[in-house]
């Protein structure tokens, strides 16, 4: 897929290094999943406020339904100035606010306590209904994994979003194909189209394509962005290697990985 990014990637590379080092130090978290979604979160939390001059965190809602990618969320929240850097020191510690899955009651900017898959999208739909009740002009974005799309609640929610013509809703599917070994989604674009979504397929590591898809307005249709991503993106031995799903590099491996992220 052609890269059209004009963005200076140094900020995102720094975030990748932070995720890798923090998880390795604390021996907790899902590094490849975090690296899979990092570019998407960067666009949502950093780029759009930068471009549209308003703060997504206060105006719109975002739910990271695949809560095991919490390392990316914490890194982005810190970069966006919502939280400080203490999470890198106490991540997953006994008294920490920052666990392997995010807790909405502990962390500012986290709108749902996710971890069990298939919970985020129904909650997002409830938020859209609530915004309508309160006459608030807010968008709600929910990021799910493609493996998470195995869950029936997501397909129930697709029906709801379409039936209630939720143009305020953006569903992002992190399609890294890691779950194809269990249950492939087949032609996801066709399925989402059939469910009544306006579907955009993008390179989930291209800021230009992510932003283009996020900024696209629909009328009367919920929007789905199928973001083609690579699990463990940026670290060659980790990319698309299921052995790294919940594993941590040795000191020697870490040095090599950090070299690669320069």
């Amino acid at each position: 897929m052609e890269r059209l990014d004009t963005l200076d990637q140094s900020e995102i590379l720094e975030l990748r290094r932070k995720i890798l080092v923090t998880a390795t130090l604390k021996k907790e978290g899902h590094i490849p999943s975090a690296l899979s979604v990092l570019d998407l979160l960067y666009a949502i939390y950093v780029q759009i406020p930068r471009i549209s001059k308003y703060n997504v965190l206060t105006q719109d809602s975002f739910i990271l339904s695949k809560g095991h990618a919490s390392l990316a969320l914490y890194a982005i929240l810190e970069h966006a100035g919502v939280i400080d850097n203490s999470w890198t020191k106490d991540f997953s510690d006994f008294s920490s606010d920052f666990g392997g899955h995010p807790d909405m009651r502990k962390i500012e900017g986290v709108e749902a306590s996710t971890g069990s898959l298939g919970h985020g999208l129904p909650i997002a739909i409830g938020k859209v209904l609530a915004n309508r009740v309160k006459k608030k002009d807010r968008n709600v974005t929910c990021l799910v994994g493609d493996g998470e799309m195995n869950e029936g609640t997501n397909w129930e929610s697709l029906l709801l979003a379409s039936h209630h013509r939720m143009s305020e809703l953006t569903l992002i599917i992190d399609q890294n194909n890691s779950n194809d070994r269990a249950l492939s989604l087949g032609n996801l674009e066709a399925k989402l189209n059939a469910f009544g979504f306006y579907v955009i397929c993008i390179d989930g590591h291209s800021q230009k394509e992510i932003l283009g898809a996020l900024m696209k307005k629909t009328v009367g249709l919920p929007k789905a962005i199928i973001a083609k991503t690579i699990k463990g993106y940026g670290i060659s031995q980790m990319q698309n290697n299921p052995a790294w799903h919940h594993a941590f590099p040795t000191g020697e491996q870490l040095d090599l990985m950090l070299q690669e992220l320069k």
């Binding site: 909405m104 009651r105 709108e111 749902a112 306590s113 971890g115 069990s116 298939g118 919970h119 999208l121 129904p122 909650i123 997002a124 739909i125 409830g126 938020k127 859209v128 209904l129 609530a130 915004n131 309508r132 009740v133 309160k134 029936g152 609640t153 129930e156 929610s157 029906l159 709801l160 039936h163």
Partner: protein, 290 residues
């Protein structure tokens, strides 16, 4: 109680702009006026109970108080993880109103039975459980608690007692005095227990809720205690502080046994099968007292 449900919930919806009603394709005819008058706050969401609870959590997270209604096993057992995580773990406000109770749908079989709901929800931190015994008691409890900022489960039954008693949340009330044993009747089964204990020298108490925050204090009159609850036994016993502390009464828990009830028929026939009918209750009480 269904008529009371429509009356009290419709009034809440009409008078509170921050309330919403979600139906799981149940009670649609009863709520036809609310569905028509408040299309942005009253939804027949469809037959997708797990997502319905998640949607309710989304509403609650934005300050809209949800009222969710469907049949007990689908509301509680099918959607258990959503109740646990989306509401319990996230500490969101919600109201869940079930119909069907343990086996009100006696002719429809096990798929529509739910004798375990009270014990299941008692195991989730933060759930207030209301077991109203009559339509008027349900109206009183719902009006008082639906907007309390907590998680409330209202268990409605086709059966109800005929007493004028209304019990506050977490309270036990005395129905009549006696000396040889204490009997607690829970919710709609009160009339059956009254009839079963007629003429016996027993103290009869009544309760219609379970509060996790406050245990109900119970001063026994003898060394025998009987708890009659129209669902799987256990939750009421765990919610009691028995006084005096030195007492160690023998306890008979009478409830729906943990088993699949594979028969059909009427509610009364199933009560006879499970020895929860008036005659069986009396026999069990008399045998325990002797």
């Amino acid at each position: 109680m269904r008529k009371a449900l429509v009356e009290v919930v419709e009034e809440v919806i009409r008078s509170n702009e921050n309330s919403a009603l979600l139906l799981g394709d149940i009670g649609v005819y009863g709520f036809r006026n609310a569905l028509n008058d408040f299309p942005n706050r009253v939804f027949n969401l469809g037959i997708l109970e797990q997502s319905m609870i998640g949607v309710a959590a989304g509403l609650a997270s934005e300050g809209v108080v949800p009222i969710v209604h469907t049949i007990a096993p689908f509301l509680v057992e099918r959607s258990l993880e959503q109740l646990k995580i989306d509401f319990g773990y996230q500490r969101l406000t919600g109201n869940f109103v079930s119909v069907g109770a343990s086996f009100d749908y006696s002719g429809l079989g096990c798929t529509h039975h739910c004798p375990a709901d009270v014990n299941i929800l008692s195991s989730i931190e933060g759930f207030n459980i209301f077991l109203p015994g009559s339509p008027s008691e349900f109206k009183y409890l719902f009006n008082k608690h639906w907007n309390n900022g907590e998680i409330n489960y209202f268990r409605l039954s086709e059966e109800s007692h005929t007493q004028s008693i209304v019990c506050n949340f977490g309270e036990i009330q005395k129905v009549h005095s006696g000396g040889k044993a204490t009997i607690i009747a829970v919710g709609p089964i009160l009339d059956d227990v009254l009839e079963a204990a007629n003429g016996l020298d027993v103290e009869l108490l009544y309760c219609s809720s379970i509060s996790q925050k406050t245990k109900m204090e119970l001063e026994v009159v003898s060394n025998k205690l009987i708890i009659v609850e129209p669902f799987n036994s256990g939750s009421i016993r765990q919610n009691l502080t028995i006084l005096p502390f030195s007492s160690n009464p023998e306890i008979l828990e009478v409830g729906v046994p943990v088993k699949f009830i594979r028969n059909y028929g009427t509610v009364e026939e199933l009560k006879q099968l499970l020895k929860l009918d008036v005659n069986s209750l009396r026999d069990r009480i008399v045998e325990f007292l002797s």
